[in-house]
Structure formats: C-alpha cells, structure tokens
C-alpha cells in the first residue's frame, strides 16, 4: 500500500490535502456515490467558479493595462513637450505661448465641430508647429532688427525643417505635427509659404494653428513689440478673414471671444 502510494507520487504532489488513502476493504463502505458518478450540477458549479476566477483576473489585467497605457501616454506627451521646449529654448522665456496657442486651437477645433478624438490630437500636435526653429541659426532667429530677404527665406525654412524632423513617423500625432509644421504659414488666399497652398488645400489643422498662432503673437508682448489690445487684435484677424485665415474658422474664433479671454487669463503667468 505504502509503496503503491509513493509510486503514485503525482497525487501527493498535486493535491496532498484532498487525498485520503482508503483501505481497499473499506472501499465498498465508501461507495455511496451513484453508479453514474457525480451530479452534473456539481460539475457546472466548478465551471461557474472558474468563470468567476477568469473574470476577476481578466478585470485585474485590464486595470493594470489601463494604468500602463496611461503612463505610456503621459510619457509620450512629456517627450513631445520637451521636444517643443528644446525648440523654443532660445527665443521663448516661458512656455506660455505654446500652452495658450494649443488652447486656442482646441477652442477653434471644438467650435468648428471636430470630434473629440481629433480635437485631442490637435491639442497634442499643435505645440510642435515651430520645432523646425531648432534648425535656424541664432543670428537670424534672435536678430532684433528687420530681416533681409535672404534671412527671411531662411526663417521660412523652419516649416520644412519641422516637417522633416516630425515626418515619416508611424505615430498619428507626429504625422499631424509634421503636417502642422509644414502648413501653419500657408494663407487662405494662397500667399503663404512654403508651398503657396490656398483654401481647403491647406490641411485643416494647419489652418487652425495659423489662426491661433497669429492671434497669440498679436496679443503677446515680444522683444520688438508690445501686446496689442484684444479689440485691435480682433480687428486685424477680422480684416484677414478670407485672406490669411479660413473664414469659417475665423468666425468660430471671433464669435467666442469670452472663451478666448478666459484662456488668455488662465494661461498667462
């Protein structure tokens, strides 16, 4: 008996507490189970138990995955932010311009009726519009006086440089960033750069950023100029409606000045 038990070691290994060694003579006394074996309901209960345990561990895994996904998203955004900070490092004291213009972009995109996911992409991608400035030499980027024609041509190349830095990625955000970098100086009337695109040939995100970027530049103090009052800035934007800017987006923006003022107040340090 003993040796047989030991040679059947798998029983002992697998489920020691459940196994009772029953003397062969007692077997008949113990055989109170019906000839058909166990009640299938008992077996069904085991299935239900396993289902519950699988469900619980699934739920746990989903939670862990969600946390991991959020961390990844967060670090992705932070990396983008730092790339933007690097590109702004030489000519921008604070990151305020970036934060503000991204908020203006979100406002315009929302009022224009873009779905939430698209708005979110623009929120993250818009700050990358000027990363190409990283490739512009100091003496031109930081020149206090008026730029020569040749220097301005070099400044213009920040759109191409930005598109080159961000382009070719499989990330939708970086693709959008590249598109914005390339097209945020195009004008509705076709007189912008680098390609002179006009109307809806300019990608929507580029049109949105163009408006937000100019408006923030007008209403911010720069080394070479004071901030324009809001009313003046609005007038300038209005005059350029259908010239520099997409008319529909311009309306969406100018019709929501209270929200614009709120953003300005909240994002200026």
């Amino acid at each position: 008996m003993e040796s047989e038990w030991q040679c059947f070691g798998i029983i002992y290994d697998r489920n020691p507490e459940k196994i009772e060694i029953v003397n062969p003579k007692e077997k008949s006394l113990n055989s109170n189970t019906s000839a058909g074996g166990i009640d299938p309901v008992e077996q069904l209960k085991k299935y239900a138990e396993d289902l519950v345990s699988v469900y619980k561990s699934e739920k746990e895994k989903r939670k862990d995955l969600e946390i991991a996904r959020n961390k990844l998203k967060e670090s992705y955004r932070e990396t983008i932010n730092r790339l933007v900070l690097a590109s702004e490092y030489r000519d921008e004291d604070t990151g305020d311009h970036i934060v503000r213009m991204a908020a203006y972009c979100v406002l315009i995109a929302e009022k224009h009726g873009l779905p939430g996911a698209e708005v979110e992409k623009i929120r993250i991608a818009a700050p990358m519009h000027d990363v190409g400035k990283i490739g512009i030499p100091d003496d031109i980027l930081l020149k206090p006086g008026k730029l020569t024609g040749e220097e301005f041509e070099i400044i213009k190349s920040h759109t191409l440089i930005g598109a080159k830095i961000l382009g070719g990625s499989s990330s939708e955000i970086l693709q959008l960033g590249a598109e914005i970098a390339l097209t945020h100086h195009e004008k509705w009337n076709g007189k912008g750069y680098p390609r002179g695109l006009s109307g809806t040939a300019i990608p929507l995100a580029g049109r949105i950023v163009a408006l937000a970027d100019v408006f923030d530049a007008l209403t911010s103090k720069r080394p070479y100029k004071d901030a324009f009052p809001f009313e003046v800035a609005c007038d300038i934007i209005k005059k350029d409606r259908g010239e520099h800017f997409d008319p529909e987006l311009t309306d969406a923006f100018l019709n929501n000045m209270d929200a614009v003022l709120k953003i300005k107040a909240e994002t200026t340090s």
Binding site: K27, G36, Q43
Partner: protein, 122 residues
C-alpha cells in the same frame, strides 16, 4: 490536429468537457461506455483519452484503461482518469492500470485545459 476521446456515461459531462476543449484546436470524440471507448480507441488512435471510471454496464474505466495500456496498438495513447470525489482509491488502481494522470470530479475546467495542453505538448 490532436485527437481526444471523452468517455463518460453522462452526456452533460461529455458536453461540458467538449465545450471546454473546443477552445483549443482538438478533434473531439465521445463514448458513453467503456466498451465503446475501446472500440473507438482502436479505430481512431486518439492522442488522449479522458476516462470516467464508474459507468453502467459490464466494464468500468479502470478495466478499459488496463486493456488499452496492454495493447501495443493503443498503449501510447495517454489516459487521464476521471473519478468522483470519495473514490480516491480508484486513483491507485488507475495508476496500476497505467493511467497517466487523473482528475477528481467535479474538476476545474481550467485545470483540465492546462493538463491536456501539458500532456499533448501544445
């Protein structure tokens, strides 16, 4: 595709085991008695048999296991015996008969899946 023969007199149990193992890509056969199990095993040469012990009729699962494991035609087929709680003595008899492993009913379907995968080397 690996072949598995499910032997149990209760159709409910066979059905439950079938549904469980269908998750993996196995070919599943069924028998409701030890006699039929022998017949199908000889004909189909399954890779694994899940063998209930107590079944009505002349032969029980232990006897069928013994016969299968002695026959050179079928001895390479793995046998997992299934026995009801309270019948643990069968396990020792099952081991003697040549069974490769066992489950006590009611069994955990997850454990069954894992054990089958382990035995079939998936």
């Amino acid at each position: 595709m690996k072949k598995i023969l499910i032997v149990d007199d209760r159709i409910e149990v066979r059905k439950l085991v079938e549904v469980t193992l269908e998750v993996e890509n196995y070919q599943l056969l069924q028998a409701d008695s030890a006699e039929k199990a022998l017949e199908i095993a000889r004909r189909e040469k399954p890779d694994l048999i899940l063998m209930d012990i107590m079944m009505p009729g002349g032969m029980d699962g232990l006897e069928a296991t013994r016969i299968l494991k002695k026959d050179p035609e079928t001895k390479n087929c793995a046998v997992i015996i299934l026995t009801a709680m309270g019948q643990e003595y069968d396990l020792i008899e099952g081991k003697k008969a040549g069974a490769d492993d066992y489950f006590i009913k009611p069994f955990s379907p997850l454990d069954l899946l894992r054990k089958v995968e382990e035995i079939l080397g998936e």
